[in-house]
C-alpha cells in the first residue's frame, strides 16, 4: 500500500489536486474562486500527462545532431506537446470566463453565486 503510493506519488498528487479543484468549483460562492478552481483542476491533469511521459534515468527531449538517432533513454516529448497546447487554450478560456464575470458584476453588482441567484429570481 505504502509502496504503491510512494512509486506513484505524482498520480496521488494528481488525484488530490483534481479533488481540490472540483471542491472549489462546487463549494466556492465567489465566481473568481470558481475560475481559479477550474485552473487548478487543469494543472492537475497536466501533472498526470507529464508524469506519464517521465522515464527513470532519462534525459530531456533534446536529440543530438547526428543522424544515427539518440543513444540514451529520453523522456517522451509527445505528452509535453499536448500539455503546451492545453496550457495556452486554458488561459484563453480563463480570459473569456473572467470577462463574463466582469460583465456579470456590471449587470448585477455582485460576484457571489447565492446573491446572484436571489437577484435573478427577483427579476
Amino acid at each position: 500500500m505504502l509502496e504503491l503510493l510512494a512509486t506513484r506519488y505524482a498520480y496521488v498528487a494528481f488525484i488530490v489536486l483534481l479533488s481540490v479543484g472540483l471542491y472549489m468549483v462546487i463549494a466556492s460562492q465567489n465566481l473568481v474562486k470558481k475560475v481559479i478552481g477550474v485552473n487548478l483542476f487543469q494543472t492537475a491533469i497536466f501533472l498526470f500527462f507529464v508524469a506519464s511521459a517521465y522515464v527513470e534515468g532519462g534525459a530531456v527531449p533534446v536529440v543530438p545532431k547526428d543522424s544515427a538517432g539518440p543513444t540514451e533513454v529520453i523522456v517522451s516529448p509527445l505528452p509535453h506537446v499536448i500539455v503546451l497546447t492545453a496550457i495556452v487554450v486554458g488561459v484563453a478560456l480563463t480570459a473569456v470566463g473572467l470577462a463574463l464575470i466582469v460583465r456579470i458584476y456590471t449587470e448585477y453588482g455582485t460576484l457571489r453565486e447565492d446573491v446572484l441567484r436571489e437577484v435573478r429570481s427577483d427579476d
Binding site: 512509486t7 506513484r8 506519488y9 505524482a10 498520480y11 498528487a13 488525484i15 488530490v16 483534481l18 479533488s19 481540490v20 471542491y23 472549489m24 462546487i26 463549494a27 465567489n30 473568481v32 474562486k33 481559479i36 478552481g37 485552473n39 487548478l40 494543472t43 497536466f46 507529464v50 508524469a51 506519464s52 511521459a53 517521465y54 522515464v55 534525459a59 530531456v60 527531449p61 533534446v62 536529440v63 543530438p64 545532431k65 543522424s67 529520453i74 523522456v75 517522451s76 516529448p77 509527445l78 509535453h80 506537446v81 500539455v83 503546451l84 497546447t85 496550457i87 495556452v88 487554450v89 488561459v91 478560456l93 473569456v96 473572467l98 470577462a99 463574463l100 464575470i101 458584476y105 460576484l111
Partner: protein, 179 residues
Amino acid sequence: MTPLEVALIAFVLVTALATALFRDVLSAIIVFGAYSLGMAIIYTVLLAPDVAMTEAAISAGVTTILLLLTIAKTVRPSTDALFESVNVPAVLTVGAFALVFGAAVLPAIPAIGAESAPVWSNPEVTQYYLENTYAETGVQNTVAAVLAAYRGFDTFGEAVVVFGAAVAVLLVLDREVFA
C-alpha cells in the same frame, strides 16, 4: 521518490488547499501564483523544461495578471475571517470521488518512470519522433519540432482559438478596441 520531490509535492498540496480555503480572493490569487510556480518546478524535475517554462510564464504570469485585473475591475470582498467555512456535503462528495477514482486508477497504472509507463506501451511512436526529428526538421528540441513542424496545423488551430477568445472577451465587455 527523492526528498526534493516530496518537498515539492507537499508545497503544491499545501498551496492548493490554501487557495481553496482563503476567504480573501486576493490572498487566494497570490497563493495560486505560488502554486503554479511549484508546479513549474515539478515539471522541471520530471524532465519537461518546455512545459515548465510555459507554466511559469502563462499560468503563474498571465493567469495571475488576468485574475488581478478582474478583482481590480470588480470587487474584493472585505472580510475578517481568514478562512472560508468548509462546505461539508461538498467535501464528502469530492472525498468520495477521490477515493473511488484513486482506488480504481492507482493500482491500474505502472509506477512513475517505469519501463511500462503508459507512454511506452507503444514505443514505436515516440521512438519515431526521437530518431527522425533532427533529420526531418533540423530542430534538436523534439517538443518544439512536433509543435511547430509535425503538428503545425494544430498549433495554427490553437492560435485561432486564442483569437476567438480575444474576440469573445471584447464582445462580452462591449468594446470594439483594447483599452
